[in-house]
């Protein structure tokens, strides 16, 4: 079964037409700008937490990094919402490109890793050798996932096959 009828319908909705067609700088350009800011906040703060686990800024207790988490989650939700709007704008472009699914997968894994890292930090002794080892492994994987997600996201502009249904 083809998803084309769904794509055709989605592209004909008022929201989709506004995202793509509105001459307002707050429509497509504004949403893209918010998506870049959310990326900087979410991936940036996650990367900084990973770097801390790997030995940067050792003077900052890991638990204290939890104070920055609301900003990280803020960036994540900003991008979930702006991402859905961009998807509604160009559903065919994204959903017919395997790179888009790779990007979503990498973000999902990165967020699961973030939650697991956080759970380990909250559980108490992050300096116990076994915990520290797990944390380092999670942090390295997290950095790889975020780098991959960002690269995949950027490459979406170069790898799509169909722009509209």
């Amino acid at each position: 079964m083809s998803i084309d009828p769904f794509l055709v319908w989605l592209e004909s909705t008022a929201l989709s037409e506004w995202v793509v067609g509105s001459p307002s700088m707050l429509a497509f350009p504004g949403i893209l700008a918010l998506h870049a800011i959310g990326m900087g906040l979410a991936a940036g703060l996650a990367a900084v937490l990973d770097l801390r686990i790997l030995g940067v800024a050792r003077g900052v207790p890991l638990v204290e990094f939890r104070r920055f988490q609301p900003v990280l989650w803020g960036g994540f939700w900003l991008n979930a919402v702006s991402g859905v709007l961009l998807l509604v704008g160009y559903p065919t472009k994204a959903l017919t490109n395997p790179v888009f699914y790779l990007k979503l997968l990498l973000i999902a894994v990165a967020m699961v890793l973030f939650v697991r890292i956080d759970r380990l930090i909250r559980s108490g002794d992050a300096t116990a050798p076994a915990t520290a080892r797990s944390l380092r492994r999670l942090a390295i994987t997290s950095l790889v996932c975020w780098s991959g997600a960002i690269t995949a996201g950027r490459l979406l502009a170069y790898t799509y096959h169909r722009l509209r249904a």
Partner: protein
């Protein structure tokens, strides 16, 4: 005079660009863009954390400890200055006549001057032996300006595509925002 300077700069880069051929190969531009985004995250993560600390987040942590992140922010900036230069040296007209690029440079200048001001004005209170856990008000203002300036840099960077310079028709203003060719 500024207009003539812009035209000269575009012509000079177009004639002598050492990287344009490389950047026009199939994947060079997308790879440089991806690096530009990775650098952005590093910069925002590191500088943003430090600014948030100055503003009072994670107040129990000594400011100097969070400052250890700054070299990573500088690394992000270096990645972005280099990749940004690659774009500029390949398609100079797309940037030098682009109003969004002018605002991006302005915001970058503000971010830079603001960072300089921080080290000149607040270094001792924030890092000295008598450093307090709560940053002085001046440092907080600087942190807020820094966050706003970097957000503006990102927004202007993302907006470049939507303000591509078209051909000039009786343009005036301090800077050219159209392509005279």
């Amino acid at each position: 005079m500024l207009h003539a300077g812009q035209i000269w700069l575009v012509a000079a880069i177009e004639q002598h660009s050492p990287v344009a051929t490389l950047m026009r190969t199939h994947w060079a531009w997308p790879i440089a863009e991806s690096l530009h985004f990775l650098g952005l995250c590093l910069l925002v993560g590191a500088i943003g954390s430090f600014d948030l600390r100055l503003l009072g987040v994670a107040r129990r942590v000594p400011i100097a400890a969070v400052h250890r992140l700054i070299p990573w922010g500088i690394l992000g900036f270096a990645i972005n200055a280099s990749t940004g230069l690659l774009f500029l040296l390949t398609e100079p007209d797309q940037y030098i006549y682009n109003p969004s690029f002018h605002f991006k440079l302005l915001a970058l200048g503000i971010a830079g001057a603001n960072a300089g001001l921080f080290y000149l004005s607040s270094f001792r209170q924030v890092f000295g032996p008598a450093a307090e856990l709560d940053a002085p008000r001046r440092a907080k203002v600087i942190a807020l300006v820094s966050l706003c300036a970097w957000m503006t840099v990102i927004v202007c960077g993302r907006m470049l595509t939507f303000y591509r310079p078209g051909p000039c028709v009786g343009q005036s203003g301090v800077l050219l925002t159209c392509d005279p060719k």
